[in-house]
């Protein structure tokens, strides 16, 4: 490169640089962190670009930006991606900038413990949703151990959907399992509890299991591969990504029982008579978590329990019903206008009445924020604590849980 060219190059790059910084600093979010007048609330998301994360984040923001909240607090959204170091770094930054409340989607149940402990010591309140953190000072809101609404004894997404599949198959048949992201605790809990059910039925044979990464496209590809090997499979147990599973089955011209999570497509198929069950984690948690955090700030740490367990939604071939418009009215439970992989569970009658389709899709602030009712009905039983905190509470020891929980005999905490 001759002198002139170099000059121009450098010039160009400088312009780019200027533009970059301009663009960046121009993007200071409306509620920007500059003015220290109001107390700071941070919504910390693990962005991964799928519907579940998007809706969870939107509902959280919708609540956090409601006029009455915005009046008192200075809310900021932080996206940490899927890299734990980045989330640790961001949490450190939030703590340093004097955060009062941090509502987070934890990337790892354990890796954040040190930084969360730091934060608690500095007087920050942490509320983790969907994923859980083991740090004792943080609040957990999760479905991982959740039980079915109408029957609180029937706990664990994995176990309940597995049981449902077994029933659909009449206790015998070949089963495939579409798992989540390899090496994550959520996936392991779902899988272990499901296996504990399958193992009780000698007639059930798990012929293949694969990782769909909670992603429709990957689930579809993996299912296609597995179907090639096991054309005679009788049912598929799936975590999120089940819409991909169904599409792979359709391409192969098979209509066999499928249990999965809450995608619009699964429910649409169920309503059209496809045998299966739709259950699992709901994005509504995002909004609930923020309301919980606000209540703690308002009424103090003792106003709400530390470990909250959201009930499992449960939709079957019989109960699946399309909604006339954007509301869950008289028992309808999915939308005609939504994407296939849209996660339908955006409502939570009791604790998140202000939720709406618009809020879930756009994050537009909710109008009338309702006070959070007592959460005592949603307390997680001590027996399941070990799944979310890694240890049992004082006075409890690890061991098989025999009573008060179906299926019996799953590992958990028992009274000493």
């Amino acid at each position: 490169m001759n002198f002139k060219k170099k000059l121009t190059l450098v010039g160009a790059m400088t312009v780019v640089a200027a533009f970059a910084l301009a663009a960046c600093s121009a993007d200071v979010s409306p509620s920007g962190g500059a003015d220290g007048a109001k107390e700071k609330i941070y919504i910390n998301l693990s962005y991964s670009g799928n519907n579940w994360q998007d809706e969870g984040a939107n509902l959280a923001m919708a609540v956090a930006q409601a006029p009455e909240v915005a009046a008192k607090y200075d809310v900021q959204k932080v996206i940490s991606g899927s890299d734990p170091q980045k989330q640790i770094s961001d949490l450190q930054s939030m703590i340093a900038s004097g955060a009062k409340l941090i509502v987070l989607y934890p990337i790892s149940p354990t890796a954040l413990n040190p930084v969360i402990q730091q934060g608690c010591d500095a007087g920050v309140t942490f509320v983790a949703y969907d994923g859980t953190v083991e740090a004792p000072c943080a609040w957990n809101i999760s479905y991982i151990t959740g039980a079915r609404t109408e029957n609180p004894e029937k706990a664990f997404f994995g176990a309940q959907t597995a049981q449902a599949l077994v029933d659909l198959l009449g206790g015998t048949g070949e089963v495939m399992m579409n798992r989540g992201v390899a090496g994550t605790s959520t996936d392991t809990v779902h899988y272990d509890t499901a296996m504990s059910v399958f193992n009780e039925y000698p007639g059930i044979e798990v012929v293949n299991e694969f990782y769909g990464n909670w992603d429709s496209s990957v689930s579809q590809q993996e299912t296609a591969k597995a179907l090639a090997a096991h054309p005679g499979v009788d049912g598929i147990w799936s975590q999120a990504g089940e819409d991909g599973v169904i599409k792979a089955l359709e391409a192969a011209g098979m209509e066999i029982p499928v249990t999965g999570e809450n995608s619009n497509y699964l429910r649409e198929k169920l309503s059209a008579g496809w045998p299966g069950v739709s259950s699992g984690s709901a994005p509504a948690q995002g909004g609930v978590a923020v309301k919980l955090g606000l209540k703690i700030l308002a009424d103090g740490a003792d106003s709400v329990p530390k470990d909250i367990e959201m009930p499992l939604p449960w939709v079957t071939t019989e109960t699946a019903k399309v909604c006339p418009d954007a509301e869950f009215v008289d028992g309808c439970n999915f939308f005609s206008q939504a994407d296939d992989s849209f996660v339908t569970e955006i409502f939570e009658k009791n604790v998140l009445p202000e939720s709406s389709y618009t809020a879930a899709t756009t994050g537009a602030p909710v109008s009338a924020l309702q006070a959070l009712p007592s959460m005592d009905t949603l307390v997680q039983p001590e027996s399941r604590r070990i799944y979310t905190r890694g240890v049992c509470d004082a006075g409890w020891t690890p061991g098989p849980v025999e009573e008060g929980q179906v299926p019996a005999g799953l590992p958990g905490c028992v009274k000493e």
Binding site: Y47, F210, N213
Partner: protein
Amino acid sequence: MTHLTTRTEGFEVDSHDHVSWPHRLRTYMGTSGGQAALMWALVILLVPTSRLFSSNFPSAAMVNSTILLGLFLAVVAFGQGLVILSGGIDLSVPAAIALGAFFTGYLASQGLPTPLAIILGLLTSSLVGLVNGIIVSSTNFPPFIVTLAVGTIGAALLLGLSQGQPGQNSPPELVALFNGDLNVLGAAPSLIMLLAVLILGYLIQSRTTFGRSVYAIGNSIRAARIAGIRVRLSAFLVYWVAGIAYGLAGVLLLGYGSGSDLNIGNSWLLPSIAVVVVGGSSISGGTGNYSGTVAAALLITLLSIDISAAGFPEGVKQVLYGAIVLLALLLSKIGGGRR
């Protein structure tokens, strides 16, 4: 003059005639054509041997999904292969795939006619390649880091523009290609598409002046420049075309999954590089053959189907997958590949 040349001929010819067959084979295996032949042979060989992994193999279903899933890999690997052939490497694959998929879906859902939506989608994905091409061809920055940075930017912009909302439903015409309803003269559309991609890709790489100059650049930029090849232009085109290829893969994935998350491209970066290497191209550029790449794509897909059929735990699957890549490298080494 005349008997000067006969003299030289005399000498070389006599040495030329004594070429032993094994040697000829070796030299042929040394060429990228030979590598390709080896790969195809392995693919054919693997169809029956897949019996070892599952009692239901070999089966039509197996072949079909191999072709279908191999198609996506082949399309991505065309772009990656072109870049590697030119002596570079492209880490912006995921961003470009996602852009192509997202915008095609988005525009279609805004009511644009599908073909137009696809073209515009490909244009957006090609922007990534465009920027890569401009920077790499006009500066001396290492492609590895340039494409990495540009990819990061592209992905971030996609997030910003979509505000993180994924999953546009894909236009029915695209879905029809994959949901088994459609079939063209008795064959699944995926097979037709694979053949089309194979032929087109091969022609572009080996039968056009563009492809020719890419080989030349990959061998020696300086020599190419002295030989009067428009190095900058070609280098630029390489990345641009690659960007379009990734976008096309994105569009196909959109049709296949009838919808797309924004991270739909993430799972394709390492496989795209692995396939090119396994296919017998030199990772340092200058030699390679697209038919080998396609064979490698099918090979890897078929093997991953076998492995998945065998029902190993995920960790073991990955170990095997890595071992396969190593094995392929060794094979091409033994086969006399020049690397």
